[in-house]
Symmetry: C2
Subunit: 321 residues, 2 copies
Protein backbone atom coordinates (compact mmCIF):
# COMPACT_ATOMS: atom_id res chain seq x y z
CA UNK A 1 0.00 0.00 0.00
CA UNK A 2 2.93 2.28 -0.12
CA UNK A 3 5.32 3.78 -2.61
CA UNK A 4 3.33 3.29 -5.75
CA UNK A 5 5.55 4.30 -8.59
CA UNK A 6 3.89 4.41 -11.96
CA UNK A 7 6.88 6.20 -13.54
CA UNK A 8 6.86 4.80 -17.06
CA UNK A 9 10.16 6.15 -18.28
CA UNK A 10 10.19 9.83 -19.16
CA UNK A 11 10.40 12.83 -16.91
CA UNK A 12 7.31 14.50 -15.58
CA UNK A 13 6.80 18.11 -16.56
CA UNK A 14 8.12 20.88 -14.38
CA UNK A 15 4.64 21.93 -13.47
CA UNK A 16 3.85 18.43 -12.36
CA UNK A 17 6.98 18.17 -10.26
CA UNK A 18 6.14 21.51 -8.74
CA UNK A 19 2.71 20.29 -7.75
CA UNK A 20 4.18 17.06 -6.51
CA UNK A 21 6.63 18.92 -4.32
CA UNK A 22 3.86 21.06 -2.92
CA UNK A 23 1.61 18.09 -2.23
CA UNK A 24 4.42 16.13 -0.63
CA UNK A 25 5.32 19.12 1.48
CA UNK A 26 1.79 19.43 2.78
CA UNK A 27 1.63 15.70 3.35
CA UNK A 28 4.90 14.98 5.12
CA UNK A 29 5.93 18.28 6.63
CA UNK A 30 2.51 19.81 7.00
CA UNK A 31 1.07 16.54 8.26
CA UNK A 32 -2.23 16.88 6.40
CA UNK A 33 -4.14 13.98 4.92
CA UNK A 34 -4.39 13.55 1.19
CA UNK A 35 -8.06 14.40 1.37
CA UNK A 36 -7.37 17.74 2.97
CA UNK A 37 -4.67 18.51 0.47
CA UNK A 38 -7.01 17.59 -2.35
CA UNK A 39 -9.53 20.11 -1.10
CA UNK A 40 -6.91 22.81 -0.66
CA UNK A 41 -5.36 22.30 -4.05
CA UNK A 42 -8.69 21.61 -5.71
CA UNK A 43 -7.75 18.20 -7.03
CA UNK A 44 -9.16 14.74 -6.60
CA UNK A 45 -7.77 12.69 -3.78
CA UNK A 46 -6.23 10.28 -6.26
CA UNK A 47 -4.45 13.07 -8.00
CA UNK A 48 -2.88 14.03 -4.70
CA UNK A 49 -2.02 10.42 -3.98
CA UNK A 50 -0.24 10.26 -7.31
CA UNK A 51 1.57 13.50 -6.71
CA UNK A 52 2.81 12.32 -3.36
CA UNK A 53 3.93 9.01 -4.81
CA UNK A 54 5.67 10.88 -7.58
CA UNK A 55 7.47 13.16 -5.17
CA UNK A 56 8.68 10.14 -3.25
CA UNK A 57 9.80 8.19 -6.29
CA UNK A 58 11.46 11.24 -7.78
CA UNK A 59 13.18 11.89 -4.47
CA UNK A 60 11.77 15.40 -4.25
CA UNK A 61 11.11 14.60 -0.64
CA UNK A 62 13.78 12.93 1.43
CA UNK A 63 13.75 10.94 4.63
CA UNK A 64 16.69 11.08 6.99
CA UNK A 65 17.18 9.23 10.21
CA UNK A 66 18.92 11.21 12.93
CA UNK A 67 19.49 8.70 15.63
CA UNK A 68 22.45 6.44 16.28
CA UNK A 69 20.89 3.00 16.40
CA UNK A 70 22.90 1.31 19.06
CA UNK A 71 23.65 -1.98 17.36
CA UNK A 72 24.68 -0.24 14.16
CA UNK A 73 26.98 2.04 16.09
CA UNK A 74 28.60 -0.95 17.73
CA UNK A 75 29.14 -2.74 14.46
CA UNK A 76 30.60 0.39 12.96
CA UNK A 77 33.00 0.77 15.86
CA UNK A 78 33.99 -2.88 15.53
CA UNK A 79 34.76 -2.59 11.86
CA UNK A 80 36.60 0.68 12.27
CA UNK A 81 38.86 -0.90 14.81
CA UNK A 82 39.35 -4.25 13.14
CA UNK A 83 40.32 -2.82 9.79
CA UNK A 84 41.85 0.47 10.86
CA UNK A 85 39.29 2.57 9.04
CA UNK A 86 38.92 6.31 9.14
CA UNK A 87 35.21 5.83 9.57
CA UNK A 88 32.50 3.27 9.04
CA UNK A 89 28.78 3.89 8.67
CA UNK A 90 26.33 1.07 9.22
CA UNK A 91 22.66 1.47 8.39
CA UNK A 92 19.88 -0.86 9.44
CA UNK A 93 19.22 -3.67 7.00
CA UNK A 94 15.93 -4.40 5.45
CA UNK A 95 15.63 -8.08 6.37
CA UNK A 96 13.36 -8.87 3.45
CA UNK A 97 15.35 -7.09 0.80
CA UNK A 98 18.97 -7.78 1.61
CA UNK A 99 20.08 -6.76 -1.82
CA UNK A 100 18.42 -3.35 -1.79
CA UNK A 101 20.86 -0.56 -1.30
CA UNK A 102 18.39 2.09 -0.22
CA UNK A 103 19.78 2.62 3.23
CA UNK A 104 23.38 2.42 2.16
CA UNK A 105 22.66 4.96 -0.54
CA UNK A 106 21.18 7.37 1.97
CA UNK A 107 24.13 6.97 4.30
CA UNK A 108 26.57 7.53 1.46
CA UNK A 109 24.61 10.57 0.35
CA UNK A 110 24.91 12.05 3.82
CA UNK A 111 28.69 11.65 3.76
CA UNK A 112 28.98 13.02 0.24
CA UNK A 113 26.75 15.91 1.09
CA UNK A 114 28.84 16.84 4.07
CA UNK A 115 32.00 16.84 2.02
CA UNK A 116 30.57 18.67 -0.93
CA UNK A 117 28.91 21.35 1.16
CA UNK A 118 32.33 22.90 1.71
CA UNK A 119 33.01 26.01 -0.29
CA UNK A 120 36.72 25.43 -0.80
CA UNK A 121 37.33 23.88 -4.22
CA UNK A 122 37.54 20.13 -3.95
CA UNK A 123 38.19 17.14 -6.16
CA UNK A 124 36.07 14.06 -5.56
CA UNK A 125 36.70 10.77 -7.35
CA UNK A 126 33.97 8.24 -7.94
CA UNK A 127 33.62 4.77 -9.32
CA UNK A 128 30.45 3.39 -10.83
CA UNK A 129 27.66 1.06 -9.91
CA UNK A 130 24.07 0.90 -8.85
CA UNK A 131 24.73 1.71 -5.23
CA UNK A 132 26.76 4.82 -5.92
CA UNK A 133 24.25 5.90 -8.48
CA UNK A 134 21.45 5.52 -5.95
CA UNK A 135 23.49 7.48 -3.44
CA UNK A 136 23.84 10.36 -5.86
CA UNK A 137 20.09 10.39 -6.38
CA UNK A 138 19.69 10.91 -2.66
CA UNK A 139 21.83 14.02 -2.64
CA UNK A 140 20.32 17.43 -2.23
CA UNK A 141 21.01 19.78 -5.09
CA UNK A 142 23.92 22.10 -4.53
CA UNK A 143 25.70 24.77 -6.46
CA UNK A 144 29.43 24.23 -6.25
CA UNK A 145 30.98 25.07 -9.60
CA UNK A 146 34.34 25.20 -7.86
CA UNK A 147 34.35 21.45 -7.21
CA UNK A 148 35.55 18.80 -9.64
CA UNK A 149 34.08 15.34 -9.99
CA UNK A 150 36.45 12.79 -11.46
CA UNK A 151 35.77 9.28 -12.67
CA UNK A 152 38.12 6.52 -11.58
CA UNK A 153 36.74 4.14 -14.13
CA UNK A 154 35.16 4.23 -17.56
CA UNK A 155 31.44 3.69 -17.83
CA UNK A 156 31.29 1.80 -21.08
CA UNK A 157 31.86 -1.69 -22.35
CA UNK A 158 34.55 -2.50 -24.87
CA UNK A 159 31.81 -2.34 -27.49
CA UNK A 160 31.27 1.31 -26.69
CA UNK A 161 27.93 0.95 -24.99
CA UNK A 162 27.49 3.32 -22.05
CA UNK A 163 26.41 2.13 -18.66
CA UNK A 164 23.17 3.44 -17.29
CA UNK A 165 24.89 3.66 -13.94
CA UNK A 166 27.10 6.51 -14.87
CA UNK A 167 27.87 8.32 -11.67
CA UNK A 168 30.12 11.26 -12.54
CA UNK A 169 27.71 13.03 -14.81
CA UNK A 170 24.75 12.72 -12.51
CA UNK A 171 26.80 13.77 -9.51
CA UNK A 172 28.19 16.75 -11.35
CA UNK A 173 24.64 17.70 -12.34
CA UNK A 174 23.49 17.51 -8.77
CA UNK A 175 26.23 19.65 -7.32
CA UNK A 176 26.83 21.87 -10.31
CA UNK A 177 30.46 20.79 -10.38
CA UNK A 178 32.96 20.39 -13.18
CA UNK A 179 33.01 16.90 -14.62
CA UNK A 180 35.85 14.65 -15.66
CA UNK A 181 34.46 11.38 -16.96
CA UNK A 182 36.86 8.69 -18.10
CA UNK A 183 36.51 8.22 -21.84
CA UNK A 184 37.29 4.54 -21.82
CA UNK A 185 35.75 1.12 -21.35
CA UNK A 186 36.28 -0.68 -18.08
CA UNK A 187 38.19 -3.38 -19.88
CA UNK A 188 39.84 -2.81 -23.22
CA UNK A 189 40.04 -5.61 -25.76
CA UNK A 190 43.80 -5.82 -25.78
CA UNK A 191 46.70 -4.59 -23.73
CA UNK A 192 47.77 -2.45 -26.65
CA UNK A 193 44.35 -0.78 -26.71
CA UNK A 194 44.71 0.06 -23.06
CA UNK A 195 48.12 1.53 -23.56
CA UNK A 196 46.92 3.61 -26.47
CA UNK A 197 44.02 4.94 -24.47
CA UNK A 198 46.11 5.76 -21.46
CA UNK A 199 48.53 7.66 -23.61
CA UNK A 200 45.79 10.18 -24.28
CA UNK A 201 46.11 13.60 -22.74
CA UNK A 202 42.79 13.23 -20.93
CA UNK A 203 44.21 10.38 -18.93
CA UNK A 204 47.09 12.41 -17.65
CA UNK A 205 44.61 15.00 -16.44
CA UNK A 206 42.59 12.36 -14.62
CA UNK A 207 45.70 11.03 -12.92
CA UNK A 208 46.70 14.48 -11.79
CA UNK A 209 43.26 15.25 -10.46
CA UNK A 210 43.16 12.00 -8.59
CA UNK A 211 46.34 12.96 -6.82
CA UNK A 212 44.67 16.14 -5.59
CA UNK A 213 41.44 14.45 -4.63
CA UNK A 214 39.93 14.95 -1.23
CA UNK A 215 38.18 11.57 -1.33
CA UNK A 216 37.18 8.65 -3.51
CA UNK A 217 33.86 6.84 -3.35
CA UNK A 218 33.84 3.44 -4.97
CA UNK A 219 31.50 0.51 -5.29
CA UNK A 220 32.53 -3.08 -4.97
CA UNK A 221 31.30 -6.27 -6.49
CA UNK A 222 31.84 -9.96 -6.37
CA UNK A 223 33.25 -11.91 -9.30
CA UNK A 224 30.89 -14.45 -10.78
CA UNK A 225 28.38 -15.11 -13.47
CA UNK A 226 25.85 -12.94 -11.71
CA UNK A 227 28.28 -10.08 -11.12
CA UNK A 228 27.05 -6.70 -12.36
CA UNK A 229 30.14 -6.25 -14.49
CA UNK A 230 29.25 -9.38 -16.41
CA UNK A 231 25.52 -8.83 -16.57
CA UNK A 232 25.99 -5.33 -17.86
CA UNK A 233 28.39 -6.50 -20.52
CA UNK A 234 31.57 -4.89 -19.22
CA UNK A 235 33.26 -8.26 -18.99
CA UNK A 236 32.93 -11.16 -21.37
CA UNK A 237 32.34 -14.78 -20.45
CA UNK A 238 36.00 -15.42 -21.07
CA UNK A 239 37.08 -12.68 -18.69
CA UNK A 240 34.86 -14.02 -15.95
CA UNK A 241 36.08 -17.57 -16.51
CA UNK A 242 39.66 -16.45 -16.27
CA UNK A 243 39.02 -14.52 -13.09
CA UNK A 244 37.14 -17.33 -11.40
CA UNK A 245 39.98 -19.63 -12.42
CA UNK A 246 42.43 -17.24 -10.81
CA UNK A 247 40.35 -17.22 -7.62
CA UNK A 248 39.28 -13.61 -7.80
CA UNK A 249 36.79 -12.81 -5.03
CA UNK A 250 35.93 -9.25 -5.86
CA UNK A 251 36.47 -6.21 -7.97
CA UNK A 252 36.74 -2.46 -7.42
CA UNK A 253 36.70 -0.04 -10.35
CA UNK A 254 37.47 -2.98 -12.60
CA UNK A 255 40.49 -4.27 -10.70
CA UNK A 256 40.04 -7.83 -9.53
CA UNK A 257 41.65 -9.03 -6.34
CA UNK A 258 42.08 -12.25 -4.41
CA UNK A 259 40.91 -13.22 -0.94
CA UNK A 260 43.77 -11.31 0.62
CA UNK A 261 42.82 -8.16 -1.20
CA UNK A 262 45.86 -8.25 -3.47
CA UNK A 263 45.18 -7.21 -7.06
CA UNK A 264 45.38 -10.29 -9.24
CA UNK A 265 48.31 -10.95 -11.45
CA UNK A 266 45.93 -11.92 -14.21
CA UNK A 267 45.91 -11.04 -17.91
CA UNK A 268 42.48 -9.56 -17.34
CA UNK A 269 43.84 -6.93 -14.97
CA UNK A 270 46.35 -5.99 -17.65
CA UNK A 271 43.48 -4.69 -19.71
CA UNK A 272 41.85 -2.61 -16.98
CA UNK A 273 41.79 1.01 -18.05
CA UNK A 274 40.81 2.48 -14.68
CA UNK A 275 43.16 4.41 -12.49
CA UNK A 276 45.16 2.00 -10.35
CA UNK A 277 44.08 1.03 -6.85
CA UNK A 278 46.12 2.36 -3.95
CA UNK A 279 46.97 0.19 -1.00
CA UNK A 280 46.95 1.67 1.50
CA UNK A 281 45.05 4.58 -0.03
CA UNK A 282 46.67 7.98 0.06
CA UNK A 283 43.39 9.77 0.50
CA UNK A 284 40.03 9.02 2.04
CA UNK A 285 38.74 6.06 0.04
CA UNK A 286 35.25 4.93 0.83
CA UNK A 287 33.80 1.60 -0.22
CA UNK A 288 30.05 1.84 -0.53
CA UNK A 289 28.13 -1.38 -0.68
CA UNK A 290 26.60 -4.35 1.02
CA UNK A 291 24.63 -7.52 0.59
CA UNK A 292 25.44 -11.15 1.27
CA UNK A 293 27.02 -11.76 -2.13
CA UNK A 294 29.53 -8.99 -1.55
CA UNK A 295 30.77 -10.13 1.83
CA UNK A 296 33.82 -12.08 0.62
CA UNK A 297 34.78 -9.23 -1.68
CA UNK A 298 34.42 -6.70 1.11
CA UNK A 299 36.35 -8.81 3.54
CA UNK A 300 39.20 -9.15 1.08
CA UNK A 301 39.21 -5.47 0.17
CA UNK A 302 39.36 -4.45 3.79
CA UNK A 303 42.05 -6.98 4.57
CA UNK A 304 44.11 -5.72 1.67
CA UNK A 305 43.62 -2.10 2.77
CA UNK A 306 42.08 -1.10 -0.51
CA UNK A 307 39.95 1.43 1.32
CA UNK A 308 40.04 3.60 4.40
CA UNK A 309 36.33 3.82 5.08
CA UNK A 310 33.21 1.75 4.62
CA UNK A 311 29.51 2.39 4.25
CA UNK A 312 27.41 -0.73 4.49
CA UNK A 313 24.39 -2.25 6.15
CA UNK A 314 23.85 -4.07 9.37
CA UNK A 315 23.67 -7.61 8.03
CA UNK A 316 26.82 -7.15 5.98
CA UNK A 317 28.62 -5.55 8.90
CA UNK A 318 27.75 -8.52 11.06
CA UNK A 319 29.02 -10.91 8.45
CA UNK A 320 32.28 -9.00 8.30
CA UNK A 321 32.93 -9.36 12.02
Amino acid sequence: MRGSSPSPSDRPSDKRRDDAARAAWLYFIGGRTQDEIATQLDLSRQAVQRLVALAVSEKLIKFRLDHPIASCTELAAGLTERYGLEFCDVTPSDPDAPGSAGGIAVAAAVRLQRLLAAKAPMVICVGTGRTLRAAVEELDSLDRPQHKVVSLVGAMSAGGQASPYDVVMRLADKVGAQRYPMPAPVLTETVADREALQGQRAFAVLRELRDQARASFVGISEIGWQAPLHRDGFMTDNDISALIEAEAVGEITGWSFDAEGHPLDSPVNERVASLPLESPPERLTVIVGGGPQKVPALKAALKGRLASALITDEATAEALL
Copy 2:
Protein backbone atom coordinates in the same frame (compact mmCIF):
# COMPACT_ATOMS: atom_id res chain seq x y z
CA MET B 1 -4.79 9.02 10.52
CA ARG B 2 -1.38 10.49 10.70
CA GLY B 3 1.07 11.82 13.25
CA SER B 4 -0.46 10.42 16.38
CA SER B 5 1.56 11.81 19.24
CA PRO B 6 0.79 10.38 22.62
CA SER B 7 3.91 11.94 24.20
CA PRO B 8 2.70 12.72 27.71
CA SER B 9 5.68 14.66 29.00
CA ASP B 10 8.73 12.60 29.86
CA ARG B 11 11.36 11.13 27.56
CA PRO B 12 11.02 7.64 26.27
CA SER B 13 13.76 5.23 27.25
CA ASP B 14 16.83 4.86 25.07
CA LYS B 15 15.84 1.36 24.14
CA ARG B 16 12.47 2.58 23.03
CA ARG B 17 13.93 5.39 20.95
CA ASP B 18 16.28 2.90 19.41
CA ASP B 19 13.42 0.66 18.40
CA ALA B 20 11.49 3.65 17.18
CA ALA B 21 14.37 4.72 15.00
CA ARG B 22 14.67 1.26 13.58
CA ALA B 23 10.96 0.96 12.89
CA ALA B 24 10.83 4.40 11.31
CA TRP B 25 13.82 3.56 9.19
CA LEU B 26 12.17 0.43 7.88
CA TYR B 27 8.95 2.32 7.33
CA PHE B 28 10.10 5.48 5.59
CA ILE B 29 13.43 4.57 4.07
CA GLY B 30 12.88 0.86 3.65
CA GLY B 31 9.34 1.42 2.41
CA ARG B 32 7.87 -1.56 4.25
CA THR B 33 4.39 -1.61 5.72
CA GLN B 34 3.90 -1.63 9.45
CA ASP B 35 2.64 -5.19 9.21
CA GLU B 36 5.82 -6.37 7.60
CA ILE B 37 7.93 -4.53 10.13
CA ALA B 38 5.91 -6.05 12.93
CA THR B 39 6.68 -9.53 11.62
CA GLN B 40 10.35 -8.76 11.20
CA LEU B 41 10.76 -7.21 14.61
CA ASP B 42 8.38 -9.67 16.22
CA LEU B 43 6.03 -7.06 17.58
CA SER B 44 2.35 -6.39 17.16
CA ARG B 45 1.38 -4.09 14.35
CA GLN B 46 0.16 -1.55 16.88
CA ALA B 47 3.47 -1.53 18.62
CA VAL B 48 5.12 -0.68 15.34
CA GLN B 49 2.55 2.00 14.64
CA ARG B 50 3.36 3.55 17.99
CA LEU B 51 7.07 3.37 17.40
CA VAL B 52 6.76 5.06 14.04
CA ALA B 53 4.56 7.77 15.53
CA LEU B 54 7.08 8.23 18.31
CA ALA B 55 9.96 8.55 15.89
CA VAL B 56 8.07 11.20 13.98
CA SER B 57 7.04 13.19 17.02
CA GLU B 58 10.51 12.94 18.51
CA LYS B 59 11.98 14.04 15.20
CA LEU B 60 14.18 10.98 14.98
CA ILE B 61 13.16 10.86 11.37
CA LYS B 62 13.18 14.03 9.30
CA PHE B 63 11.49 15.07 6.10
CA ARG B 64 13.19 17.46 3.73
CA LEU B 65 11.90 18.88 0.49
CA ASP B 66 14.50 19.27 -2.20
CA HIS B 67 12.72 21.10 -4.94
CA PRO B 68 12.46 24.81 -5.62
CA ILE B 69 8.72 25.33 -5.79
CA ALA B 70 8.40 27.92 -8.50
CA SER B 71 6.03 30.33 -6.80
CA CYS B 72 8.08 30.28 -3.62
CA THR B 73 11.24 30.94 -5.57
CA GLU B 74 9.61 33.93 -7.22
CA LEU B 75 8.42 35.38 -3.97
CA ALA B 76 11.85 34.91 -2.48
CA ALA B 77 13.46 36.68 -5.40
CA GLY B 78 10.94 39.51 -5.09
CA LEU B 79 11.62 40.03 -1.42
CA THR B 80 15.37 39.78 -1.85
CA GLU B 81 15.26 42.53 -4.41
CA ARG B 82 12.75 44.78 -2.75
CA TYR B 83 14.49 44.84 0.60
CA GLY B 84 18.06 44.32 -0.49
CA LEU B 85 18.45 41.05 1.36
CA GLU B 86 21.37 38.68 1.27
CA PHE B 87 18.93 35.84 0.87
CA CYS B 88 15.32 34.96 1.42
CA ASP B 89 13.81 31.51 1.86
CA VAL B 90 10.11 30.99 1.32
CA THR B 91 8.45 27.71 2.20
CA PRO B 92 4.96 26.61 1.16
CA SER B 93 2.26 27.61 3.62
CA ASP B 94 -0.16 25.24 5.15
CA PRO B 95 -3.40 26.97 4.20
CA ASP B 96 -5.30 25.53 7.12
CA ALA B 97 -2.73 26.27 9.79
CA PRO B 98 -1.32 29.69 8.94
CA GLY B 99 0.15 30.09 12.39
CA SER B 100 2.12 26.86 12.39
CA ALA B 101 5.80 27.38 11.89
CA GLY B 102 6.67 23.85 10.83
CA GLY B 103 7.84 24.71 7.37
CA ILE B 104 9.66 27.84 8.43
CA ALA B 105 11.40 25.88 11.12
CA VAL B 106 12.60 23.30 8.64
CA ALA B 107 13.86 25.97 6.27
CA ALA B 108 15.68 27.74 9.08
CA ALA B 109 17.16 24.45 10.23
CA VAL B 110 18.54 23.85 6.75
CA ARG B 111 20.28 27.23 6.77
CA LEU B 112 21.60 26.77 10.27
CA GLN B 113 22.80 23.31 9.46
CA ARG B 114 24.70 24.51 6.46
CA LEU B 115 26.44 27.19 8.46
CA LEU B 116 27.22 25.02 11.43
CA ALA B 117 28.52 22.14 9.35
CA ALA B 118 31.68 24.14 8.76
CA LYS B 119 34.68 23.04 10.75
CA ALA B 120 36.24 26.48 11.21
CA PRO B 121 35.30 27.88 14.63
CA MET B 122 32.27 30.10 14.34
CA VAL B 123 30.15 32.31 16.54
CA ILE B 124 26.39 32.21 15.97
CA CYS B 125 24.00 34.56 17.76
CA VAL B 126 20.40 33.66 18.40
CA GLY B 127 17.29 35.29 19.78
CA THR B 128 14.42 33.39 21.34
CA GLY B 129 10.95 32.32 20.45
CA ARG B 130 8.85 29.39 19.41
CA THR B 131 9.85 29.46 15.79
CA LEU B 132 13.57 29.46 16.45
CA ARG B 133 13.10 26.80 19.05
CA ALA B 134 11.25 24.63 16.56
CA ALA B 135 13.99 25.24 14.02
CA VAL B 136 16.61 23.99 16.44
CA GLU B 137 14.57 20.83 17.02
CA GLU B 138 14.76 20.16 13.29
CA LEU B 139 18.53 20.27 13.25
CA ASP B 140 20.56 17.13 12.86
CA SER B 141 22.93 16.44 15.71
CA LEU B 142 26.46 17.62 15.11
CA ASP B 143 29.69 17.68 17.02
CA ARG B 144 31.27 21.09 16.75
CA PRO B 145 32.84 21.98 20.09
CA GLN B 146 34.78 24.69 18.30
CA HIS B 147 31.64 26.74 17.66
CA LYS B 148 30.10 29.22 20.07
CA VAL B 149 26.41 29.89 20.43
CA VAL B 150 25.58 33.29 21.88
CA SER B 151 22.28 34.65 23.08
CA LEU B 152 21.25 38.12 21.97
CA VAL B 153 18.53 38.31 24.55
CA GLY B 154 17.77 36.96 27.99
CA ALA B 155 15.28 34.16 28.30
CA MET B 156 13.64 35.12 31.55
CA SER B 157 11.05 37.50 32.83
CA ALA B 158 11.86 40.23 35.31
CA GLY B 159 10.52 37.89 37.98
CA GLY B 160 13.28 35.41 37.18
CA GLN B 161 11.13 32.80 35.51
CA ALA B 162 12.83 31.11 32.58
CA SER B 163 11.21 30.81 29.20
CA PRO B 164 10.53 27.35 27.88
CA TYR B 165 11.60 28.63 24.50
CA ASP B 166 15.22 28.93 25.40
CA VAL B 167 17.15 28.55 22.19
CA VAL B 168 20.84 28.84 23.04
CA MET B 169 21.00 25.87 25.34
CA ARG B 170 19.11 23.54 23.07
CA LEU B 171 21.09 24.65 20.04
CA ALA B 172 24.36 24.21 21.88
CA ASP B 173 23.22 20.72 22.91
CA LYS B 174 22.40 19.81 19.35
CA VAL B 175 25.69 20.92 17.86
CA GLY B 176 27.91 20.24 20.85
CA ALA B 177 28.97 23.88 20.87
CA GLN B 178 30.04 26.22 23.64
CA ARG B 179 27.15 28.20 25.07
CA TYR B 180 26.83 31.81 26.08
CA PRO B 181 23.35 32.47 27.40
CA MET B 182 22.42 35.96 28.50
CA PRO B 183 21.88 35.96 32.26
CA ALA B 184 19.23 38.66 32.22
CA PRO B 185 15.52 39.23 31.76
CA VAL B 186 14.28 40.60 28.47
CA LEU B 187 13.08 43.71 30.23
CA THR B 188 14.49 44.83 33.55
CA GLU B 189 12.28 46.55 36.09
CA THR B 190 14.16 49.83 36.04
CA VAL B 191 16.76 51.56 33.96
CA ALA B 192 19.16 51.32 36.86
CA ASP B 193 18.70 47.56 36.97
CA ARG B 194 19.54 47.34 33.32
CA GLU B 195 22.66 49.42 33.76
CA ALA B 196 23.76 47.31 36.70
CA LEU B 197 23.28 44.12 34.74
CA GLN B 198 25.08 45.38 31.72
CA GLY B 199 28.01 46.42 33.84
CA GLN B 200 28.63 42.73 34.52
CA ARG B 201 31.66 41.12 33.00
CA ALA B 202 29.50 38.49 31.24
CA PHE B 203 27.86 41.22 29.21
CA ALA B 204 31.13 42.51 27.91
CA VAL B 205 31.93 38.99 26.74
CA LEU B 206 28.62 38.72 24.94
CA ARG B 207 29.18 42.04 23.20
CA GLU B 208 32.60 40.97 22.05
CA LEU B 209 31.36 37.65 20.78
CA ARG B 210 28.57 39.33 18.91
CA ASP B 211 31.09 41.44 17.09
CA GLN B 212 32.84 38.30 15.89
CA ALA B 213 29.65 36.50 14.97
CA ARG B 214 29.22 34.91 11.60
CA ALA B 215 25.44 35.30 11.71
CA SER B 216 22.46 36.07 13.92
CA PHE B 217 19.14 34.28 13.80
CA VAL B 218 16.29 36.14 15.43
CA GLY B 219 12.56 35.79 15.78
CA ILE B 220 10.11 38.62 15.42
CA SER B 221 6.77 39.35 16.97
CA GLU B 222 3.97 41.82 16.83
CA ILE B 223 3.15 44.10 19.75
CA GLY B 224 -0.25 43.55 21.26
CA TRP B 225 -2.16 41.81 23.98
CA GLN B 226 -1.74 38.49 22.25
CA ALA B 227 1.97 38.94 21.63
CA PRO B 228 4.12 36.09 22.91
CA LEU B 229 6.22 38.46 24.99
CA HIS B 230 3.13 39.44 26.92
CA ARG B 231 1.55 36.01 27.11
CA ASP B 232 4.74 34.51 28.42
CA GLY B 233 5.11 37.19 31.03
CA PHE B 234 8.17 38.97 29.70
CA MET B 235 6.28 42.22 29.43
CA THR B 236 3.70 43.58 31.82
CA ASP B 237 0.33 45.06 30.90
CA ASN B 238 1.82 48.48 31.46
CA ASP B 239 4.67 47.85 29.08
CA ILE B 240 2.33 46.69 26.36
CA SER B 241 0.02 49.67 26.90
CA ALA B 242 2.91 52.05 26.62
CA LEU B 243 4.17 50.40 23.46
CA ILE B 244 0.76 50.36 21.78
CA GLU B 245 0.41 53.99 22.75
CA ALA B 246 3.73 54.73 21.10
CA GLU B 247 2.59 52.93 17.96
CA ALA B 248 5.02 50.07 18.15
CA VAL B 249 4.29 47.51 15.43
CA GLY B 250 6.81 44.85 16.28
CA GLU B 251 9.68 43.66 18.37
CA ILE B 252 12.95 41.84 17.83
CA THR B 253 14.99 40.52 20.77
CA GLY B 254 12.96 42.80 23.00
CA TRP B 255 13.52 46.01 21.05
CA SER B 256 10.28 47.57 19.88
CA PHE B 257 10.13 49.53 16.67
CA ASP B 258 7.65 51.63 14.73
CA ALA B 259 6.17 51.13 11.27
CA GLU B 260 9.33 52.46 9.68
CA GLY B 261 11.46 49.98 11.54
CA HIS B 262 13.05 52.59 13.74
CA PRO B 263 13.60 51.50 17.34
CA LEU B 264 11.13 53.37 19.50
CA ASP B 265 12.20 56.21 21.67
CA SER B 266 10.12 54.80 24.49
CA PRO B 267 10.89 54.33 28.18
CA VAL B 268 10.23 50.65 27.65
CA ASN B 269 13.15 50.32 25.26
CA GLU B 270 15.34 51.95 27.91
CA ARG B 271 14.88 48.87 30.01
CA VAL B 272 15.70 46.33 27.31
CA ALA B 273 18.70 44.30 28.38
CA SER B 274 19.37 42.64 25.02
CA LEU B 275 22.27 43.53 22.80
CA PRO B 276 21.31 46.51 20.64
CA LEU B 277 19.89 46.07 17.15
CA GLU B 278 22.09 47.03 14.24
CA SER B 279 20.72 48.90 11.28
CA PRO B 280 21.92 48.03 8.79
CA PRO B 281 23.33 44.87 10.35
CA GLU B 282 27.07 44.37 10.23
CA ARG B 283 26.75 40.63 9.81
CA LEU B 284 24.28 38.20 8.34
CA THR B 285 21.13 38.76 10.35
CA VAL B 286 18.26 36.45 9.62
CA ILE B 287 14.69 37.06 10.67
CA VAL B 288 12.85 33.79 11.03
CA GLY B 289 9.09 33.95 11.20
CA GLY B 290 5.77 34.28 9.51
CA GLY B 291 2.04 34.36 9.98
CA PRO B 292 -0.57 37.01 9.27
CA GLN B 293 -0.20 38.70 12.63
CA LYS B 294 3.49 39.28 12.03
CA VAL B 295 3.18 40.91 8.65
CA PRO B 296 3.25 44.54 9.81
CA ALA B 297 6.18 43.83 12.10
CA LEU B 298 8.07 42.10 9.32
CA LYS B 299 7.34 44.86 6.86
CA ALA B 300 8.63 47.46 9.30
CA ALA B 301 11.72 45.46 10.21
CA LEU B 302 12.64 44.99 6.59
CA LYS B 303 11.99 48.62 5.76
CA GLY B 304 14.18 49.69 8.65
CA ARG B 305 16.93 47.29 7.55
CA LEU B 306 16.96 45.51 10.85
CA ALA B 307 17.90 42.29 9.05
CA SER B 308 19.75 41.15 5.99
CA ALA B 309 17.89 37.92 5.35
CA LEU B 310 14.46 36.42 5.86
CA ILE B 311 12.97 32.97 6.25
CA THR B 312 9.21 32.92 6.04
CA ASP B 313 6.27 31.20 4.40
CA GLU B 314 4.45 31.70 1.18
CA ALA B 315 1.39 33.50 2.52
CA THR B 316 3.49 35.92 4.53
CA ALA B 317 5.81 36.52 1.60
CA GLU B 318 2.83 37.39 -0.55
CA ALA B 319 1.54 39.80 2.03
CA LEU B 320 4.92 41.50 2.17
CA LEU B 321 4.95 42.19 -1.56
